[in-house]
């Protein structure tokens, strides 16, 4: 029963607010001997597992660290190239940490805009006339809920499959937005939201929804 994160997208499709409430960090550290059974490759400046699955390490996981030293992009923090360290037999046995990559801010902005377009196409693909955009997107790991207000702002919540009452949470978030962002004289509409009271109330609303499953309106 967890809520993973919240995204707020403005009318143009740009991300104006993002909050990670409870993202489960998937991290696995294992010691390997030469040669490494997993095939690694460079993707978007990260070293990603492209083939091979072993003991919980899946395709798509990135290299988060080697022998305790964290990675940044394709290098370790001490400057060595990850792929070179892994290819060199002398470094074995080697302890590598794999995990799901954390999304960078740019990626979140890009994904929000992507969803903005997918939302619009969802309403056009409809076999019935005058459909709204995508309101719920289900996968086998999480559910994405989206509420578009009359002014075109989208509130997107990613939650666990078993989490209920998200539609109530979405309306509550709209209220919090109206009270603490829109009524703030220093906030300009469609700009990124940087209001402390908004953050506090949003987090309180989410914790309430998580705890009770039904938030008190």
């Amino acid at each position: 029963m967890t809520i993973f994160s919240v995204f707020i997208v403005n009318r143009a499709g740009g991300l104006i607010y993002q909050y990670d409430h409870n993202i489960p960090r998937v991290e696995i550290e294992k010691t390997f001997s030469y040669p490494l059974e997993l095939t690694l490759r460079l993707l978007d400046d990260r070293v990603v597992v492209s083939f091979g699955q072993r003991d919980g390490v899946k395709v798509g996981h990135t290299v988060l660290g080697i022998n305790g030293i964290n990675s940044s992009g394709r290098q370790l923090e001490d400057g060595r190239e990850i792929l070179e360290v892994i290819a060199d037999e002398e470094n074995y046995p080697i302890a590598v940490k794999f995990g799901r990559p954390k999304l960078t801010v740019n990626e979140k902005i890009m994904l929000a805009s992507m969803f903005h377009s997918l939302f619009a196409i969802g309403s056009q693909l409809s076999p019935e006339p005058r459909s709204s955009g995508i309101e719920i997107l289900e996968t086998d790991g999480f559910k994405l809920y989206c509420h578009q207000t009359l002014t075109g702002i989208k509130f997107i919540v990613l939650a666990d499959l078993r989490q209920g009452a998200i539609d109530i949470l979405l309306r509550k978030l709209y209220e919090v937005y109206a009270d603490f962002a829109l009524k703030n004289p220093f906030y300009s509409i469609d700009m990124p939201i940087r209001c402390e009271l908004f953050d506090q109330n949003l987090q309180a609303a989410m914790e309430q929804a998580e705890r009770t499953g039904i938030s008190n309106v």
Binding site: L111, M114, L118, P127, G133, E138
Partner: protein
């Protein structure tokens, strides 16, 4: 439709906070629900339904192995990858869908 689903699959894989086993399965708007079942061979079965159907992954899986595999894959005249022209497939598909518990009888 294909482009949309391809984009949704890619979007879901990137934004997902957890590792996904099967990936994206369906999305709902205010008027319809679009369900996707993808076979390991890359074939995508898409069914647009009403909002109150549950998980029809099993139904789409049955559709795949009782109708598609029987009447298209095993048909020497149907080339895989080409648009399906077989009338027998269309008839069997129609029968299958009409027998589904989620298919209502419209009183017109």
């Amino acid at each position: 439709m294909y482009g949309m689903l391809f984009s949704i699959k890619s979007f879901v894989n990137r934004i997902s906070p957890v590792d996904l086993k099967d990936g994206f399965s369906s999305f709902k708007t205010s008027k319809y629900k679009c369900n996707l079942y993808e076979t390991p061979s890359g074939l995508k079965f898409i069914m647009n339904t009403d909002l109150n159907v549950g998980n029809i992954r099993e139904i789409l899986h049955r559709l795949y192995y009782t109708v598609y595999v029987e009447y298209v894959v095993k048909n020497p005249l149907c080339k895989l990858g080409q648009p399906i022209k077989s009338d027998l497939f269309k008839t069997k598909l129609d029968e299958f869908v009409r027998e589904l518990p989620i298919f209502p009888l419209r009183a017109s």
